[in-house]
Assembly symmetry: C2
Homo-oligomer: 221 residues x 2
DNA sequence: CTATTATTCAAGTTATCGCTTGAATAATGT
DNA sequence: ACATTATTCAAGCGATAACTTGAATAATAG
């Protein structure tokens, strides 16, 4: 009960928000949205030192946004449940709806040019079944290997300029990446459209696709 | 564009989360969920100094969770839109689903005894129409005056022990307050049940009721 | 048991946050 | 213009957070 139960409650809510209030931790959550990972892998992907990464993960765990289990010497972290993903999504939606700053950043990516509407996951599933679309997975090769949309070609950003000449100008292309926090797909679409290709972005990324119950080709997890 | 657009984006998302990461600001948002208010009124309600309150409100505005307009000498703040409310709700849900600490705090309020399920807003609307329920508004008188559920009796917590003897033991009672962040209704129900009364809590508070399109008796706004 | 690998803990530094105080600005009424 | 009221700005202080470094702990292999 303490002196003020009301304040104690608000402190708990604030703890969850505070866990989401550092870019480094949002990056970690984005990685974990791809699937469970060990501390070292997360540190690699995010560029954090191991110790720092571990500390951030512990804060996320205190807020119960992630949970961990031991696997031999390694500690594997994962998102606690879909609610964590929902909270990240809503945070992004509010930020994007409201902040002109975000708009400007995203606009900067596509050089202020045309920004086509993203393709819905439902639409993409239908078009894949029809075979009427080329799907690009714009994530690093190891993440592609761990799981991807069936039929998608792995096309890390670094290689995209190189392979543009090999692509069919008439083909409809859809690019996806880690999800809404990830800007790889934005950048890929901007690059492809600059070369006159008919490219669009998938709404959401692989975690959202998986969440919708759509098929994922799983590899070495 | 800067050096790292990705990091810049994450900073913006983090800014929104950081705005939600202080108990004082959650209190302000809870107040604003009741309706728009001036700085002084908010400072009074939350116990913050005027200057401090103003600073918190500016942080909320930077995160675009609230907006403000001038009305004569006064600056009136209000929630930007329903998304702000949704974000607060989800934050609370995640905290309550996950944090044992929250459970303990809420349990402490009802002395660890029976904690009946809250009544849904839909159910309450039906029962009010039937006249088969007594509705208590457990908020301060000024908030009640500004708007309340039709037929509800205003019953600030301070007075509740005093009026218990006057209540019908057979009557079904439903108590509500400001909303999920507010614990008045929890406390009221605990007090009433301790005296053998058949009391339950409404799921959500007046903002949620209003959001559902249910009728509100508006007073001096 | 010892060595190895993966993670966590602990101490220290710099930067930021929340709060207070007192002054500055904005709008209104006389 | 001047006084009044409501809010914001600016400076300062103590507490907290992020990151680094180096040591400590856990699990496994030899």
């Amino acid at each position: 009960m303490s002196i003020s139960p009301k304040l104690a409650l608000l402190e708990e809510y604030a703890l969850v928000a505070r866990a989401l209030s550092a870019p480094a931790r949002l990056m970690l959550l984005e990685q974990l949205a791809q699937g469970e990972r060990g501390v070292e892998a997360l540190a690699d992907k995010t560029g954090l030192t191991i110790a720092n990464c571990s500390q951030h993960l512990q804060q996320l765990r205190r807020a119960a946004l992630v949970t961990s289990r031991r696997d031999g010497k390694a500690v594997i972290y994962r998102l606690t449940d879909a609610k964590t993903l929902a909270l990240m999504d809503l945070l992004r939606i509010v930020a994007e709806r409201n902040l002109a700053q975000v708009e400007r950043i995203l606009r900067g990516l596509s050089s202020g040019e045309d920004a086509p509407e993203p393709v819905s996951r439902e639409d993409l599933a239908v078009r894949i079944a029809e075979g009427s679309v080329t799907v690009l997975d714009v994530r690093p090769a190891d993440e592609y290997a761990a799981g991807h949309i069936p039929g998608a070609l792995n096309m890390p950003l670094i290689e995209i300029e190189r392979i543009i000449p090999t692509l069919d100008l008439a083909a409809e292309i859809v690019a996806y990446c880690r999800g809404p926090y990830c800007i790889y797909a934005h950048q890929a679409v901007a690059a492809l459209r600059k070369h006159g290709l008919n490219a669009r972005r998938l709404d959401g990324g692989l975690p959202e696709w998986r969440e919708d119950g759509l098929p994922v080709l799983a590899g070495t997890q």
